[in-house]
Symmetry: C2
Subunit: 444 residues, 2 copies
Amino acid sequence: MASTIVFFSVKKTAQTTTRRCLKGLAHSPSVSLLPGGRWSSRGTGVRFMSQGTAAGRSRRGALALSAAAAVTAATAVAGFLANADHFPRAEMATSVPQTAEEKKNKKDDEDEGDIVERCRDFMSVPVTDIKVLQERKQEMSTKMEMLIMETQAEFCKALQEVDGGTFKVDRWDRKEGGGGISCVMQDGKVFEKAGVNVSVVFGNLTEEAAKQMRSRGKVLKGKDGKLPFCAMGVSSVIHPKNPHIPTVHFNYRYFEIEEADGTKQWWFGGGTDLTPVYIDKEDAHHFHKTLKEACDQHHPQYYPDFKKWCDRYFFVRHRGETRGIGGIFFDDLDSPNQEQVFKFVKSCARTVVPCYLPIVYKHLSDSFTAEEKDWQQVRRGRYVEFNLVYDRGVKFGLATPGSRIESILMSLPLTARWEYMHEPPKGSREAEMLEVLRNPKEWV
Amino acid sequence: MASTIVFFSVKKTAQTTTRRCLKGLAHSPSVSLLPGGRWSSRGTGVRFMSQGTAAGRSRRGALALSAAAAVTAATAVAGFLANADHFPRAEMATSVPQTAEEKKNKKDDEDEGDIVERCRDFMSVPVTDIKVLQERKQEMSTKMEMLIMETQAEFCKALQEVDGGTFKVDRWDRKEGGGGISCVMQDGKVFEKAGVNVSVVFGNLTEEAAKQMRSRGKVLKGKDGKLPFCAMGVSSVIHPKNPHIPTVHFNYRYFEIEEADGTKQWWFGGGTDLTPVYIDKEDAHHFHKTLKEACDQHHPQYYPDFKKWCDRYFFVRHRGETRGIGGIFFDDLDSPNQEQVFKFVKSCARTVVPCYLPIVYKHLSDSFTAEEKDWQQVRRGRYVEFNLVYDRGVKFGLATPGSRIESILMSLPLTARWEYMHEPPKGSREAEMLEVLRNPKEWV
């Protein structure tokens, strides 16, 4: 059996990709921008509404899906977040798109500003050629690529500031189409391993990916068995050294698929969740409250529904424990419309720093014992169990030829431990943590 | 979503189970031995030949199956091996069943001796009541249960002798039927984690298990969707502290399934494989040669075929690497007949100590650097990746309600490490190891 995995060479050059994303074709002034384009515009008009199934079309339906993860084809990805100083919480509070529909386009323009200018602050040149981004400024794929790049840069900078270390930046290409930017800081002063990843990929959906999506209720009609797709996302996992600083994870992604008749399906997915080693109620409250406030700007049901979904998804079934204390998780979100969902995703992305950094700073100088470090290592083992056994993104990535394995497995901690029959003494802080993982709580 | 996993309480009492294994019914003098028996003898005659499909019936067919693992339902198990002093290599050489058919039964009796006497040396009383074992002495399920208990005891004793530590013995019951004995030594002088596990389980095959078996080519016709089964096995994973002592794994198992018409299918599976951190050609040669000699006593194709199967099975696909330097692996073995296959499995089981212990003793006092320990930890990470992502026994066990999770995950190392983009320098001993893992070698 020969390996079907291709290891990409990592390039740190300024080489960029001409993105061949689905909607680009309807708006681009000229096809000359798309050399060797595999994507062809089959319909004359490009519909921005999803053609999904009941589950895909209605938010409530999507919510009803059981722990149906998501994870874009090749969103082996991640990295992100807006620094609180740059994106103060007050900004979120002013954005209430449901009731301010008319302000939408204006606000977007304000946010996005000049593409070239914004790119200067990124960790690397974007995956898509800047010229192409400029020409397709109004397209969702461009808006999302800019958001994920921005998110990566702001989060990395916030982490560098607290750690004192520097992220290693790897820009990589995907042979089948697209590429990504992986930022990793390993064995820093504060962080044992911090990974922030962006990927923008396109191509034809593999059989495996289509199957996974259909199992979530999507109806996908390919032409000659082919389903062109474009997926992008930012994701991150941060494992600190100090057991009193929790691990955080987030991922925000956007997906487009073109069906045989030329219609497109699109959706957003994502979430942010916290995995502490010990329960700190104040931290848990702060984290969830910050997420809730971001959600509440967009829909009163978002936080309660996505909080539950998060607890369901990050569940280590064989242990009967959640991975951490949750946060929010959603997928297949495609209503009320693309702009509104994007606004929501943007709010979420910009909430990562204010969710997490205050907790990091609070515990920065906490002292800890060898026993506490040990318990952290045991919890890290459970983290590995979840990621390798259940996480659909990881499973999908590992099964997809051409995936960048190092970016997918970046989420694993530097060190982990498995003790046979480990059981914390009754009444201990370790037992208190387990109790919460076995019976998820409401924190707000 | 509620947890479907039941955590069993561990019992160290002398409580035993009245095994309700399939063939017992045809031979047991009285059904009074089977209180509350779920198993009923549907046929009048019990056939000992497998009713498998082409793949199941022919050894060649079985070999042709791609990395189709195996792993009995609930052989979340393992532990084993005969100490070289008790089972000298010369013994194996005298056993050539293919050409000495007539000696078979006589030899069996010699080997097995008195049940009560043999049980005295075990790590715990067997799962099945000793009285039941005595009454069903000639049955394959009894012979196999005695072999796996013996294997566990001999291997544990050999490891205790070299380490100086003592195994923790946990006897556990499985609510759905059967139980097991887990022996674990953690953080010893020589061994970081050593687990030797026995399980003897019965009940009705879950949908998931039946599906997995059918995917390997088995035709299973249940009655009212039910397929009574009995499975038993011994398995073990030993992770030493010194990076110059390799990790070893083995597993030998026996499976019976009763179909709707009362006919039974049975088969054996198993294997032994080595996972060094550094290549030592002498060790590799010794390990494979010892296995080859055991195989050659039974069939000239066993070693070459099972060696290849092992390389195919223990393959970390996403890394393009084998887990270690292999050994042998086989499954669905049910020809030429039950006695012959059992003899072969016995030879394999008794080869574990002579395969492994000489290597342990040889490197016992090897000095090592922090860098070598680090590389060991990175390799441990890959071991975890294989076990959680690909190993069918682990996947099956984690998905099976009532599995004893601690026994399944006993195979994970105490500590492991994931370094982003770890790549050993060209020409280093680490690179030499990787080269072998990427291109499996012939060692004999």
